[in-house]
């Protein structure tokens, strides 16, 4: 009598198929039209732009050059360096973030007084606007008067202020830390909601059967959490792969001319450079589509593998 929570439950409605169809249409049709007009139409428009050499500064009608933009990008080593860097940041941020949010979600499902307050407080980092976030960490990590230095100095851990963001390597590490700090609330919320759907009776039954908390975690909680986990994982992957705000304000900001730190340039910064700074929107659009394909590719892999794994268990 264990329900398979992942099989699509087909409710036999052979009695009223027409009503069902109306139901589906009323709900889905407006959404599809909305998405179609406001997301797909512009997307197609920029896809077309990506096949041209449009540049806002050069005032001549854009010419169709088809796949030349794409080949120009792929042949340039910069694209690969930037992609590798984006993947590096993902590999640093994603595990950290997901483990943290999983641990937090489990912790905050426990019942204890003050739980609601704690749960809300840990969400605060996500409520901080991105521009403030960047300046905040710039101030905290500052090598001349930063708070982190002050803290470590007063605790006796260091005896001289450290310029934390001096080298590109440490910059990347700090970017991962700050990105984690900024975003971990999102998967936490999702996992918290996902944990709610695990029936308590199941866990109680397991406990009665003598299962340790680790075993019930591994065999009951984790598999049932998989769908929510898959969503959280995919979204956070996209967020860290397409990271922009944190890098901009932490390592590239403060300059009036729009200079981008070449050592922390990731895909989205490269995209910004092409679209907004160089105004080569044809090339920029092509890059955006490359980013889309890369993101989609990985996302689909994640989702299908996790879903299959969940169905198996």
């Amino acid at each position: 009598m264990v329900h398979s929570f992942y099989s699509l439950v087909l409710i036999d409605r052979s009695r009223e198929p027409r009503q069902d169809l109306i139901f589906v249409a009323v709900i889905l049709l407006p959404l599809i039209i909305l998405v179609g007009i406001l997301i797909y139409l512009p997307a197609v428009d920029s896809l077309i732009t990506s096949f041209t050499n449009e540049n806002l500064r050069i005032r001549r009608p854009p010419k169709f050059i088809w796949l030349k933009n794409y080949s120009k990008l792929i042949e340039n080593s910069e694209f690969w360096i930037v992609t590798a860097r984006s993947l590096l940041i993902v590999s640093l941020t994603l595990p950290l973030e997901l483990l943290m949010s999983l641990g937090l979600a489990l912790l905050l499902t426990e019942v204890f007084p003050g739980r609601a307050m704690v749960r809300t407080l840990v969400l605060l980092p996500w409520m901080l606007p991105p521009i403030v976030n960047g300046f905040l960490w710039g101030w905290l990590l500052n090598g001349e008067y930063g708070a982190l230095n002050g803290l470590l100095y007063q605790m006796g851990i260091i005896d001289e202020y450290v310029t934390w963001l001096r080298n590109p390597d440490t910059q990347i590490i700090w970017v991962a830390v700050v990105q984690t700090w900024t975003r971990f609330a999102f998967p936490t919320i999702i996992l918290l909601a996902g944990l709610q759907s695990i029936p308590k009776d199941l866990l109680d039954a397991a406990k009665v059967d003598g299962a340790s908390s680790w075993q019930s975690f591994k065999n009951i909680v984790l598999p049932l959490l998989m769908p929510s986990f898959a969503v959280a994982l995919t979204i956070e992957f996209i967020a860290s792969f397409q990271i922009f705000d944190v890098i901009w304000t932490l390592t590239a900001g403060g300059s009036a001319g729009g200079a981008i730190n070449p050592f922390t340039k990731t895909l989205m910064l490269y995209n910004y450079e092409l679209v907004f700074r160089d105004l080569r929107i044809g090339l920029g659009a092509a890059l955006s589509y490359l980013i889309l394909f890369l993101s989609l590719g990985v996302a689909i892999v994640f989702v299908t593998r996790l879903y299959n794994q969940a169905v198996k268990s």
Binding site: I37, L38, P42, A43, T49, L124, P129
Partner: protein, 293 residues
Amino acid sequence: MALSYNRNFIKRIWIYLFCAIALLWAIGPIYWIFVSSISTRMELYATPIKSWFPSEPTWDAYIRLFQGGGKYRGGDVSPTEGLMWTSLYNTLFVSIVSAAFVTFLSTNAGYVFARMKFKGKGFFFFFLMLMMPLPLWVSIIALFFMISNAGLIDTLSGMILLFIVFLLPLGIWLMSTFVREINPEIEEAAIVDGCNRWQLMRWIIYPLSKSGMAAVFLVSLLTVWNNFLLPLIFTRSPDSQMLTVVLSLFVGQYEVAWEDMAAAAVVTMLPPFLIALFFQRFLIRGMTLGAVK
């Protein structure tokens, strides 16, 4: 008896310990923002010993924020004359309305994808999800063209419309996941009893998806709250200006008015904090307990 009491007690200790660590990690930097907002510039420059609470705390930054100034670079700050109140209202309005719509629409669509069978279901699902990873500014030129032709630039309804569309894919995906986890026996029982789909939604699905809906609402609200690009491009005047753009005004040509920006940040964090606190009760267990009959 005594043994289980001890075990619970130890467990409690561990819980509080981990909570303390989590709070330190999450709130530490925020505390620094708060301190910055009540400090003077010179205190922030103090080195190497930093005071963890300013020796002369001052509410000046907050006063400047809401009173408005006009001077910026050479002297005092706060170019935000009147903008803080307006943008607070605008952001609250847009985020709450968008989040509400998204939650409602996603739950319906989530149910459809989770439970119903119809031709083209997979196609439509992918259609809705596919463009999620597309960077926003790719679409922005054409989007701007469409929105301005519809006369929706610089309007609250325009912003709401845009946010709803961009939040829907994630919302639908989340809700379809959450709805799928509802015990199907309950639904079958209701159908046998003669419920139609709409009644099913109202009496069974909505109540049982409370935590999922709360999660989608919060996620949507916070995403709107923090978004910068859409308000930048699609709003112009105080009519619809939002907080994230107003906050960027504290970056002057040569200096960042950090104390004022910090004060503005504290004010910006307050409404979502209160809303999230309110929604905690929905994120709490209640979905399947006692749901059968």
